[in-house]
Symmetry: C3
Amino acid sequence: MEAERRLEALGIVLPRVAAPIANYVQWVQAGQFLYLAGAVPRYNDEFKFLGKVDGELSLEEAYQAARYCTMNHLAMVKQALGDLDRVERVVQLIGYVSSSPGFRQQPKVVDGASDLWVEVYGERGRHVRAALGIAEIARNIPVETIVTLLIRP
Amino acid sequence: MEAERRLEALGIVLPRVAAPIANYVQWVQAGQFLYLAGAVPRYNDEFKFLGKVDGELSLEEAYQAARYCTMNHLAMVKQALGDLDRVERVVQLIGYVSSSPGFRQQPKVVDGASDLWVEVYGERGRHVRAALGIAEIARNIPVETIVTLLIRP
Amino acid sequence: MEAERRLEALGIVLPRVAAPIANYVQWVQAGQFLYLAGAVPRYNDEFKFLGKVDGELSLEEAYQAARYCTMNHLAMVKQALGDLDRVERVVQLIGYVSSSPGFRQQPKVVDGASDLWVEVYGERGRHVRAALGIAEIARNIPVETIVTLLIRP
Protein backbone atom coordinates (compact mmCIF):
# COMPACT_ATOMS: atom_id res chain seq x y z
CA MET A 1 0.00 0.00 0.00
CA GLU A 2 3.03 2.23 -0.42
CA ALA A 3 1.66 4.16 -3.41
CA GLU A 4 -1.70 4.66 -1.69
CA ARG A 5 0.05 6.01 1.40
CA ARG A 6 2.00 8.49 -0.69
CA LEU A 7 -1.16 9.67 -2.42
CA GLU A 8 -2.81 10.16 0.96
CA ALA A 9 0.19 12.13 2.21
CA LEU A 10 -0.16 14.35 -0.87
CA GLY A 11 -3.84 14.89 -0.08
CA ILE A 12 -4.88 13.38 -3.42
CA VAL A 13 -8.13 11.48 -3.87
CA LEU A 14 -8.11 9.84 -7.28
CA PRO A 15 -10.86 10.82 -9.73
CA ARG A 16 -13.28 8.33 -11.21
CA VAL A 17 -12.14 6.72 -14.44
CA ALA A 18 -14.08 8.31 -17.29
CA ALA A 19 -16.26 5.95 -19.28
CA PRO A 20 -14.98 5.71 -22.85
CA ILE A 21 -17.37 7.42 -25.26
CA ALA A 22 -16.30 5.60 -28.40
CA ASN A 23 -14.71 2.35 -29.46
CA TYR A 24 -11.76 2.70 -27.18
CA VAL A 25 -10.90 1.74 -23.64
CA GLN A 26 -8.96 3.28 -20.78
CA TRP A 27 -6.30 0.59 -20.47
CA VAL A 28 -5.04 -2.54 -22.18
CA GLN A 29 -2.77 -5.06 -20.52
CA ALA A 30 -0.49 -6.65 -23.10
CA GLY A 31 2.12 -9.07 -21.83
CA GLN A 32 4.10 -7.33 -19.09
CA PHE A 33 2.91 -3.91 -20.20
CA LEU A 34 -0.03 -1.76 -19.26
CA TYR A 35 -0.97 0.78 -21.92
CA LEU A 36 -3.05 3.73 -20.75
CA ALA A 37 -5.36 5.91 -22.83
CA GLY A 38 -4.48 9.56 -23.29
CA ALA A 39 -5.26 11.44 -20.06
CA VAL A 40 -6.48 15.01 -19.77
CA PRO A 41 -6.91 17.47 -16.86
CA ARG A 42 -10.36 16.53 -15.73
CA TYR A 43 -11.57 15.52 -12.31
CA ASN A 44 -14.65 13.35 -12.52
CA ASP A 45 -16.99 15.29 -14.81
CA GLU A 46 -15.22 18.63 -14.56
CA PHE A 47 -12.46 19.94 -16.80
CA LYS A 48 -10.13 21.65 -14.34
CA PHE A 49 -8.23 23.68 -16.93
CA LEU A 50 -9.09 24.63 -20.50
CA GLY A 51 -7.28 26.87 -22.96
CA LYS A 52 -3.95 27.20 -24.71
CA VAL A 53 -0.83 27.53 -22.63
CA ASP A 54 0.72 31.01 -22.46
CA GLY A 55 -2.35 32.51 -24.07
CA GLU A 56 -5.27 31.51 -21.87
CA LEU A 57 -3.41 29.61 -19.13
CA SER A 58 -0.29 30.53 -17.19
CA LEU A 59 2.68 28.18 -17.04
CA GLU A 60 1.85 27.38 -13.41
CA GLU A 61 -1.77 26.55 -14.29
CA ALA A 62 -0.58 24.32 -17.12
CA TYR A 63 1.80 22.52 -14.75
CA GLN A 64 -1.15 21.86 -12.43
CA ALA A 65 -3.20 20.69 -15.41
CA ALA A 66 -0.52 18.12 -16.23
CA ARG A 67 -0.67 16.82 -12.65
CA TYR A 68 -4.36 16.09 -13.21
CA CYS A 69 -3.40 13.99 -16.23
CA THR A 70 -1.34 11.76 -13.97
CA MET A 71 -4.15 11.59 -11.37
CA ASN A 72 -6.39 10.20 -14.09
CA HIS A 73 -3.70 7.76 -15.18
CA LEU A 74 -3.28 6.57 -11.60
CA ALA A 75 -7.03 6.00 -11.42
CA MET A 76 -6.82 3.90 -14.59
CA VAL A 77 -3.95 1.88 -13.10
CA LYS A 78 -5.98 1.18 -9.96
CA GLN A 79 -8.98 0.10 -12.00
CA ALA A 80 -6.81 -2.10 -14.23
CA LEU A 81 -4.64 -3.77 -11.60
CA GLY A 82 -6.60 -3.36 -8.37
CA ASP A 83 -3.41 -2.36 -6.59
CA LEU A 84 -1.20 0.63 -7.45
CA ASP A 85 1.85 -1.21 -6.10
CA ARG A 86 1.77 -3.67 -9.00
CA VAL A 87 3.52 -1.02 -11.11
CA GLU A 88 7.10 -2.17 -11.64
CA ARG A 89 8.15 0.85 -13.65
CA VAL A 90 6.72 3.88 -15.39
CA VAL A 91 8.32 3.34 -18.82
CA GLN A 92 7.33 6.12 -21.19
CA LEU A 93 5.40 9.39 -21.01
CA ILE A 94 4.63 11.50 -24.08
CA GLY A 95 3.18 14.90 -23.27
CA TYR A 96 1.33 17.02 -25.83
CA VAL A 97 0.81 20.67 -24.96
CA SER A 98 -1.70 22.82 -26.86
CA SER A 99 0.53 25.81 -27.40
CA SER A 100 0.09 29.43 -28.38
CA PRO A 101 2.43 30.36 -31.26
CA GLY A 102 5.91 30.98 -29.92
CA PHE A 103 5.36 29.16 -26.63
CA ARG A 104 8.40 26.93 -26.13
CA GLN A 105 8.33 25.76 -22.52
CA GLN A 106 6.46 22.53 -23.11
CA PRO A 107 8.85 20.57 -20.84
CA LYS A 108 7.99 22.78 -17.87
CA VAL A 109 4.30 21.97 -18.41
CA VAL A 110 4.82 18.22 -18.75
CA ASP A 111 6.94 18.27 -15.57
CA GLY A 112 3.61 18.46 -13.73
CA ALA A 113 2.75 14.97 -14.97
CA SER A 114 6.26 13.56 -14.50
CA ASP A 115 6.67 14.94 -11.00
CA LEU A 116 3.52 13.27 -9.69
CA TRP A 117 4.57 9.86 -11.04
CA VAL A 118 7.85 10.23 -9.13
CA GLU A 119 6.15 11.52 -5.99
CA VAL A 120 4.04 8.36 -5.97
CA TYR A 121 6.56 5.74 -7.15
CA GLY A 122 9.99 7.21 -6.38
CA GLU A 123 12.77 5.89 -8.64
CA ARG A 124 10.35 3.42 -10.26
CA GLY A 125 8.36 6.43 -11.42
CA ARG A 126 11.14 7.88 -13.56
CA HIS A 127 10.48 7.42 -17.28
CA VAL A 128 11.63 8.35 -20.76
CA ARG A 129 9.81 11.32 -22.04
CA ALA A 130 9.06 13.72 -24.87
CA ALA A 131 7.19 17.03 -24.53
CA LEU A 132 5.72 18.43 -27.72
CA GLY A 133 3.76 21.54 -28.67
CA ILE A 134 0.76 20.81 -30.86
CA ALA A 135 -1.94 22.84 -32.58
CA GLU A 136 -5.13 21.65 -30.92
CA ILE A 137 -6.53 19.09 -28.50
CA ALA A 138 -10.26 18.33 -28.41
CA ARG A 139 -12.47 20.68 -26.37
CA ASN A 140 -9.59 23.21 -25.96
CA ILE A 141 -7.79 20.91 -23.52
CA PRO A 142 -4.32 22.31 -22.68
CA VAL A 143 -2.32 19.11 -22.16
CA GLU A 144 -2.67 15.38 -22.76
CA THR A 145 -0.30 12.64 -21.70
CA ILE A 146 0.17 9.09 -22.98
CA VAL A 147 1.81 6.58 -20.64
CA THR A 148 3.08 3.01 -20.82
CA LEU A 149 3.93 1.01 -17.69
CA LEU A 150 5.74 -2.23 -16.90
CA ILE A 151 3.79 -4.28 -14.37
CA ARG A 152 4.53 -7.02 -11.87
CA PRO A 153 3.07 -10.47 -12.58
CA MET B 1 -11.22 -16.63 -41.15
CA GLU B 2 -13.48 -14.60 -38.89
CA ALA B 3 -11.82 -11.24 -39.60
CA GLU B 4 -11.84 -11.91 -43.35
CA ARG B 5 -15.55 -12.74 -43.22
CA ARG B 6 -16.30 -9.51 -41.43
CA LEU B 7 -14.33 -7.52 -43.98
CA GLU B 8 -16.27 -9.21 -46.75
CA ALA B 9 -19.57 -8.43 -45.04
CA LEU B 10 -18.46 -4.79 -44.89
CA GLY B 11 -17.70 -4.84 -48.60
CA ILE B 12 -14.05 -3.97 -47.98
CA VAL B 13 -11.25 -5.20 -50.23
CA LEU B 14 -7.94 -4.37 -48.58
CA PRO B 15 -5.56 -2.09 -50.47
CA ARG B 16 -2.06 -3.14 -51.46
CA VAL B 17 0.62 -2.40 -48.88
CA ALA B 18 2.61 0.60 -50.05
CA ALA B 19 6.28 -0.04 -50.69
CA PRO B 20 8.38 1.98 -48.23
CA ILE B 21 10.18 4.81 -50.00
CA ALA B 22 12.95 5.32 -47.47
CA ASN B 23 14.80 3.40 -44.80
CA TYR B 24 11.70 2.27 -43.03
CA VAL B 25 9.34 -0.65 -43.24
CA GLN B 26 5.60 -1.20 -42.89
CA TRP B 27 5.71 -3.52 -39.88
CA VAL B 28 8.10 -4.93 -37.32
CA GLN B 29 7.33 -7.95 -35.17
CA ALA B 30 9.03 -7.61 -31.79
CA GLY B 31 8.32 -10.30 -29.25
CA GLN B 32 4.55 -10.61 -28.87
CA PHE B 33 3.97 -7.24 -30.48
CA LEU B 34 3.40 -6.13 -34.04
CA TYR B 35 4.29 -2.48 -34.64
CA LEU B 36 2.74 -0.88 -37.72
CA ALA B 37 4.01 2.12 -39.66
CA GLY B 38 1.92 5.28 -39.70
CA ALA B 39 -1.05 4.77 -42.04
CA VAL B 40 -2.71 7.39 -44.20
CA PRO B 41 -5.94 7.54 -46.25
CA ARG B 42 -4.70 6.10 -49.50
CA TYR B 43 -6.03 3.20 -51.49
CA ASN B 44 -3.30 1.62 -53.58
CA ASP B 45 -1.75 4.56 -55.43
CA GLU B 46 -4.54 7.03 -54.82
CA PHE B 47 -4.91 9.44 -51.93
CA LYS B 48 -8.63 9.28 -51.14
CA PHE B 49 -8.75 12.48 -49.10
CA LEU B 50 -6.38 15.43 -48.90
CA GLY B 51 -6.69 18.71 -47.02
CA LYS B 52 -7.09 20.04 -43.51
CA VAL B 53 -10.12 19.01 -41.51
CA ASP B 54 -12.83 21.66 -41.11
CA GLY B 55 -11.20 23.83 -43.73
CA GLU B 56 -10.91 21.67 -46.85
CA LEU B 57 -12.61 18.50 -45.61
CA SER B 58 -15.86 18.01 -43.72
CA LEU B 59 -15.97 16.06 -40.48
CA GLU B 60 -17.73 13.20 -42.28
CA GLU B 61 -15.05 13.10 -44.99
CA ALA B 62 -12.34 13.10 -42.33
CA TYR B 63 -14.06 10.21 -40.53
CA GLN B 64 -14.04 8.26 -43.80
CA ALA B 65 -10.38 9.17 -44.29
CA ALA B 66 -9.55 7.66 -40.91
CA ARG B 67 -11.30 4.42 -41.93
CA TYR B 68 -8.87 4.20 -44.85
CA CYS B 69 -5.98 4.41 -42.38
CA THR B 70 -7.25 1.26 -40.71
CA MET B 71 -7.76 -0.47 -44.08
CA ASN B 72 -4.09 0.11 -44.79
CA HIS B 73 -3.14 -1.13 -41.33
CA LEU B 74 -5.19 -4.28 -41.87
CA ALA B 75 -3.37 -4.85 -45.15
CA MET B 76 -0.05 -4.54 -43.29
CA VAL B 77 -1.25 -7.05 -40.69
CA LYS B 78 -2.19 -9.54 -43.39
CA GLN B 79 1.18 -9.11 -45.10
CA ALA B 80 3.03 -9.47 -41.79
CA LEU B 81 1.14 -12.42 -40.29
CA GLY B 82 -0.51 -14.08 -43.29
CA ASP B 83 -3.73 -14.39 -41.29
CA LEU B 84 -5.75 -11.51 -39.83
CA ASP B 85 -7.02 -13.79 -37.06
CA ARG B 86 -3.58 -13.95 -35.45
CA VAL B 87 -4.33 -10.57 -33.87
CA GLU B 88 -4.88 -11.14 -30.18
CA ARG B 89 -5.61 -7.53 -29.35
CA VAL B 90 -5.42 -4.07 -30.84
CA VAL B 91 -3.41 -2.39 -28.08
CA GLN B 92 -2.84 1.27 -28.90
CA LEU B 93 -3.93 3.73 -31.58
CA ILE B 94 -2.60 7.28 -31.78
CA GLY B 95 -4.41 9.47 -34.28
CA TYR B 96 -2.95 12.71 -35.62
CA VAL B 97 -5.37 15.05 -37.37
CA SER B 98 -4.12 17.90 -39.56
CA SER B 99 -6.37 20.60 -38.18
CA SER B 100 -7.50 24.05 -39.20
CA PRO B 101 -7.00 26.56 -36.35
CA GLY B 102 -9.84 26.23 -33.87
CA PHE B 103 -10.91 22.76 -35.02
CA ARG B 104 -11.35 20.68 -31.86
CA GLN B 105 -13.23 17.54 -32.85
CA GLN B 106 -10.20 15.36 -33.46
CA PRO B 107 -11.76 12.41 -31.56
CA LYS B 108 -14.71 12.32 -33.97
CA VAL B 109 -12.27 12.02 -36.86
CA VAL B 110 -10.17 9.29 -35.27
CA ASP B 111 -13.37 7.36 -34.48
CA GLY B 112 -13.31 6.37 -38.16
CA ALA B 113 -10.13 4.39 -37.56
CA SER B 114 -11.23 2.99 -34.19
CA ASP B 115 -14.65 1.92 -35.42
CA LEU B 116 -13.26 -0.20 -38.24
CA TRP B 117 -10.88 -2.03 -35.90
CA VAL B 118 -13.85 -2.92 -33.72
CA GLU B 119 -16.06 -3.86 -36.69
CA VAL B 120 -13.38 -6.36 -37.73
CA TYR B 121 -12.21 -7.68 -34.34
CA GLY B 122 -15.08 -7.00 -31.94
CA GLU B 123 -13.98 -6.66 -28.31
CA ARG B 124 -10.39 -7.59 -29.24
CA GLY B 125 -10.38 -4.51 -31.45
CA ARG B 126 -10.88 -2.05 -28.60
CA HIS B 127 -7.71 -0.13 -27.77
CA VAL B 128 -6.27 2.74 -25.79
CA ARG B 129 -6.21 5.89 -27.80
CA ALA B 130 -5.21 9.51 -28.13
CA ALA B 131 -6.46 11.90 -30.82
CA LEU B 132 -4.34 14.98 -31.41
CA GLY B 133 -4.54 18.01 -33.69
CA ILE B 134 -1.26 18.80 -35.41
CA ALA B 135 0.02 21.45 -37.79
CA GLU B 136 0.90 19.50 -40.91
CA ILE B 137 1.24 16.00 -42.30
CA ALA B 138 3.22 15.35 -45.49
CA ARG B 139 1.44 15.96 -48.81
CA ASN B 140 -1.52 17.69 -47.07
CA ILE B 141 -2.76 14.36 -45.67
CA PRO B 142 -5.65 14.93 -43.21
CA VAL B 143 -5.11 12.10 -40.73
CA GLU B 144 -2.45 9.54 -39.83
CA THR B 145 -2.73 6.72 -37.32
CA ILE B 146 -0.07 4.70 -35.51
CA VAL B 147 -1.05 1.29 -34.16
CA THR B 148 0.49 -1.41 -31.99
CA LEU B 149 -0.98 -4.91 -31.77
CA LEU B 150 -0.55 -7.95 -29.55
CA ILE B 151 -0.34 -11.13 -31.62
CA ARG B 152 -0.91 -14.84 -31.07
CA PRO B 153 2.13 -17.10 -31.20
CA MET C 1 32.03 -4.32 -32.43
CA GLU C 2 30.30 -4.13 -35.80
CA ALA C 3 28.22 -1.03 -35.00
CA GLU C 4 31.23 0.75 -33.52
CA ARG C 5 33.25 0.02 -36.66
CA ARG C 6 30.52 1.45 -38.84
CA LEU C 7 30.35 4.60 -36.74
CA GLU C 8 34.10 4.98 -37.04
CA ALA C 9 33.91 4.53 -40.82
CA LEU C 10 31.29 7.31 -40.87
CA GLY C 11 33.63 9.57 -38.87
CA ILE C 12 31.10 9.87 -36.06
CA VAL C 13 32.13 10.29 -32.43
CA LEU C 14 29.04 9.93 -30.27
CA PRO C 15 28.07 12.88 -28.08
CA ARG C 16 27.80 12.65 -24.32
CA VAL C 17 24.39 11.64 -23.00
CA ALA C 18 22.69 14.74 -21.62
CA ALA C 19 21.88 14.65 -17.94
CA PRO C 20 18.10 14.73 -17.44
CA ILE C 21 16.99 18.03 -15.98
CA ALA C 22 13.70 16.85 -14.52
CA ASN C 23 12.04 13.71 -13.27
CA TYR C 24 12.78 11.72 -16.38
CA VAL C 25 15.60 9.54 -17.61
CA GLN C 26 17.29 8.90 -20.93
CA TRP C 27 16.41 5.22 -21.26
CA VAL C 28 14.33 2.52 -19.62
CA GLN C 29 14.82 -1.18 -20.23
CA ALA C 30 11.50 -3.00 -19.96
CA GLY C 31 11.50 -6.70 -20.76
CA GLN C 32 13.09 -7.16 -24.18
CA PHE C 33 12.60 -3.51 -25.07
CA LEU C 34 14.75 -0.45 -24.65
CA TYR C 35 12.76 2.79 -24.63
CA LEU C 36 14.73 5.95 -25.39
CA ALA C 37 13.88 9.52 -24.38
CA GLY C 38 13.07 12.02 -27.10
CA ALA C 39 16.33 13.06 -28.81
CA VAL C 40 17.12 16.46 -30.27
CA PRO C 41 19.92 17.83 -32.49
CA ARG C 42 22.45 18.71 -29.87
CA TYR C 43 26.05 17.67 -29.58
CA ASN C 44 27.21 17.72 -25.98
CA ASP C 45 26.21 21.17 -24.73
CA GLU C 46 25.63 22.75 -28.12
CA PHE C 47 22.41 22.85 -30.11
CA LYS C 48 23.59 22.23 -33.67
CA PHE C 49 20.43 23.49 -35.37
CA LEU C 50 17.61 25.69 -34.12
CA GLY C 51 14.60 27.11 -35.93
CA LYS C 52 11.56 26.01 -37.87
CA VAL C 53 12.06 23.97 -41.00
CA ASP C 54 11.50 25.81 -44.29
CA GLY C 55 11.41 29.12 -42.48
CA GLU C 56 14.68 29.36 -40.58
CA LEU C 57 16.32 26.09 -41.67
CA SER C 58 16.69 24.54 -45.13
CA LEU C 59 15.52 21.01 -45.82
CA GLU C 60 19.16 19.86 -45.99
CA GLU C 61 19.96 21.46 -42.62
CA ALA C 62 16.88 19.81 -41.11
CA TYR C 63 17.97 16.43 -42.50
CA GLN C 64 21.35 16.92 -40.82
CA ALA C 65 19.58 17.93 -37.61
CA ALA C 66 17.66 14.65 -37.64
CA ARG C 67 20.95 12.73 -37.96
CA TYR C 68 22.07 14.36 -34.72
CA CYS C 69 18.93 13.00 -33.04
CA THR C 70 20.06 9.48 -33.90
CA MET C 71 23.62 10.22 -32.73
CA ASN C 72 22.19 11.10 -29.33
CA HIS C 73 20.02 7.99 -29.35
CA LEU C 74 23.05 5.83 -30.15
CA ALA C 75 24.87 7.42 -27.22
CA MET C 76 21.92 6.51 -24.97
CA VAL C 77 22.00 2.91 -26.26
CA LYS C 78 25.69 2.65 -25.49
CA GLN C 79 25.19 4.02 -21.99
CA ALA C 80 22.23 1.70 -21.40
CA LEU C 81 23.65 -1.55 -22.79
CA GLY C 82 27.41 -1.00 -22.78
CA ASP C 83 27.58 -2.48 -26.29
CA LEU C 84 25.85 -1.12 -29.39
CA ASP C 85 25.71 -4.62 -30.87
CA ARG C 86 23.16 -5.73 -28.30
CA VAL C 87 20.49 -4.02 -30.43
CA GLU C 88 18.44 -6.78 -32.06
CA ARG C 89 16.18 -4.44 -33.98
CA VAL C 90 15.23 -0.79 -34.24
CA VAL C 91 11.46 -1.18 -33.84
CA GLN C 92 9.76 2.21 -34.04
CA LEU C 93 10.77 5.80 -34.75
CA ILE C 94 8.37 8.72 -34.44
CA GLY C 95 9.72 11.99 -35.79
CA TYR C 96 8.23 15.36 -34.90
CA VAL C 97 9.24 18.28 -37.10
CA SER C 98 8.65 21.89 -36.00
CA SER C 99 7.16 23.15 -39.23
CA SER C 100 6.46 26.51 -40.81
CA PRO C 101 2.84 26.73 -42.04
CA GLY C 102 2.52 24.93 -45.35
CA PHE C 103 5.73 22.90 -44.99
CA ARG C 104 4.84 19.33 -45.92
CA GLN C 105 8.11 17.47 -46.41
CA GLN C 106 8.41 16.11 -42.88
CA PRO C 107 9.39 12.64 -44.14
CA LYS C 108 12.45 14.05 -45.94
CA VAL C 109 13.58 15.59 -42.65
CA VAL C 110 13.07 12.45 -40.58
CA ASP C 111 14.98 10.46 -43.22
CA GLY C 112 18.09 11.95 -41.62
CA ALA C 113 17.36 10.01 -38.44
CA SER C 114 16.24 6.83 -40.21
CA ASP C 115 19.20 6.75 -42.56
CA LEU C 116 21.77 6.82 -39.75
CA TRP C 117 20.08 3.93 -37.92
CA VAL C 118 20.35 1.88 -41.12
CA GLU C 119 23.93 2.98 -41.82
CA VAL C 120 24.88 1.66 -38.38
CA TYR C 121 22.71 -1.48 -38.14
CA GLY C 122 21.89 -2.43 -41.74
CA GLU C 123 18.65 -4.40 -42.10
CA ARG C 124 18.25 -4.56 -38.29
CA GLY C 125 18.10 -0.77 -38.34
CA ARG C 126 14.93 -0.59 -40.47
CA HIS C 127 11.89 0.42 -38.43
CA VAL C 128 8.26 1.46 -38.61
CA ARG C 129 7.90 5.18 -38.71
CA ALA C 130 5.70 8.22 -38.68
CA ALA C 131 6.82 11.78 -39.50
CA LEU C 132 4.60 14.56 -38.22
CA GLY C 133 4.61 18.36 -38.43
CA ILE C 134 3.96 20.04 -35.10
CA ALA C 135 3.60 23.58 -33.85
CA GLU C 136 6.50 23.98 -31.45
CA ILE C 137 9.28 22.08 -29.73
CA ALA C 138 11.01 23.52 -26.66
CA ARG C 139 13.80 26.06 -27.26
CA ASN C 140 12.91 26.33 -30.99
CA ILE C 141 14.32 22.86 -31.68
CA PRO C 142 13.54 21.80 -35.30
CA VAL C 143 13.13 18.05 -34.90
CA GLU C 144 12.75 15.47 -32.13
CA THR C 145 12.66 11.70 -32.49
CA ILE C 146 11.31 8.99 -30.18
CA VAL C 147 12.69 5.47 -30.61
CA THR C 148 11.97 2.01 -29.24
CA LEU C 149 14.40 -0.89 -29.70
CA LEU C 150 14.33 -4.64 -29.26
CA ILE C 151 17.44 -5.87 -27.49
CA ARG C 152 19.36 -9.12 -27.17
CA PRO C 153 19.36 -10.81 -23.77
